[in-house]
Symmetry: C2
């Protein structure tokens, strides 16, 4: 049996683990139908989920859960349902999309350390910052200094701090995703013809696995992580593959 590069890529992405169906569905709606007034017809959604090896029953259960949680709304339209994000679901999705679809510049840039005035007031880290120790947070450079904070910079970023900042499990997960994306990038070069549903499946799997890792850490400059941190390389490949295989028109998706 000859190797099928698309099948290899989707299989590798599917077997990455962490494929909770409701979470997969959020990735699907976020990528294919993020805008107000858009939705995905039941049979189309089933075809995409089947392409991700998700059984119809599991999709039904997950849709039910997402409706209960206020993320998804489903309307009968003739003999089929039309599923779409609620206002709440759309707001949440769009917030995350700013990071998920951001270009490679997003992980560039300088960093700064914030020393907070009072430990008691800083149980929440400043937005986008990571806590190093009580009252000390690190994050991207910027002009706005939060109230009761002192902004500090340094000339070098010591390896021990990069090790403290880099989560070992996430670092390993990025390395795995990086290998899969690199293989897909080479096996599915520019000009590879992909039917709309296959394109939708590939896109959603890429977005989903990228999102799963990305949203588990703040968006810190690459210089803060150890040299084996592959998030920036993953972002470059995610951007390239999503551009190569654009979002299909929902009307083109059969059945």
């Amino acid at each position: 049996m000859p190797s099928d590069p698309l099948n290899d890529a989707t299989t590798a992405l599917i077997t990455l683990g962490g494929q909770r169906v409701w979470s997969l569905l959020v990735s699907v709606f976020g990528d294919l139908a993020p805008g107000e007034g858009t939705g995905i017809r039941g049979p189309v959604l089933s075809a995409i989920m089947t392409g991700m090896n998700v059984r119809a029953e599991a999709t039904r259960v997950a849709l039910h859960r997402l409706r209960n949680d206020g993320w998804i709304t489903s309307e009968k339209s003739g003999r089929t349902s039309l599923h779409g994000l609620t206002d709440f679901g759309r707001t949440e999705t769009q917030q995350a999309s700013l990071r998920i679809y951001a270009g490679p510049h997003a992980l560039q840039g300088n960093w700064r350390i914030l020393l907070m005035a009072d430990a008691a007031e800083t149980t929440e880290p400043p937005r986008g910052f990571l806590q190093i120790c009580p009252r000390v947070f690190i994050g991207p450079a910027g002009d706005i200094i939060p109230e009761n904070a002192m902004a500090l910079t340094g000339t070098s970023m010591p390896l021990w701090l990069r090790r403290d900042i880099t989560p070992a499990d996430l670092c390993a997960d990025y390395a795995t995703l990086h290998r899969i994306l690199l293989t897909a990038d080479q096996a599915l070069p520019d000009g590879t013809p992909l039917p709309p549903t296959d394109r939708a499946v590939l896109r959603c799997l890429i977005v989903h696995n990228w999102r799963r890792l990305l949203l588990r850490h703040p968006d810190l400059p690459a210089a803060l992580y150890t040299p084996d941190w592959r998030a920036p390389e993953c972002r470059v490949l995610v951007n390239r593959l999503l551009q190569r295989f654009p979002r299909p028109n929902l009307a083109d998706l059969s059945p």
Copy 2:
């Protein structure tokens, strides 16, 4: 009774409190006989201590204690004793003298913050630094970065941190000393003739009260303290008064 400016100054300095006799004696030896092979004859020491309102019995007890602690050695020389610092006492005294007699430039300069790699290793602050919170220390700028530390700088020093750094009691003590030194500086201008023993008493009281406050905090740049921190102004006045009333030759001191 006309006001006696010298008496006013010494009385003000004597009544500042914290005049433990053994500590006063250390100031006297540190200022008048710091060098190897120097000493103070018993009757001269008595005259100086009397000038500081210390009773002979209290001086004897304190000398006894300092001998037991290895700071002072006393030798009979004919009918009088010759008291002097031991090697240990001289080393300790000279270490402190570097700060006590340092010029006004000593409190100038920039600051930096050190973030230490591991809280467990930093129960001792880096030399000359003050702890802000676990793993974070502030002190004078410098080129040498301690191992396992990251050097940070900021463009501004917020008032809340200056308040954290400034000890309220010490700040009040400096304000009091500053008023006394300012009055002495004006009441005893250049050219004021002072007999050698009076000069010795005045010097030792100035050094002693300055030393008492100075050695209770690290030598941080003035910019780190609140604007009411009078240590830099005290240092200027201490330097000026000690220059105006130089160390008397011990041989000139009678009896």
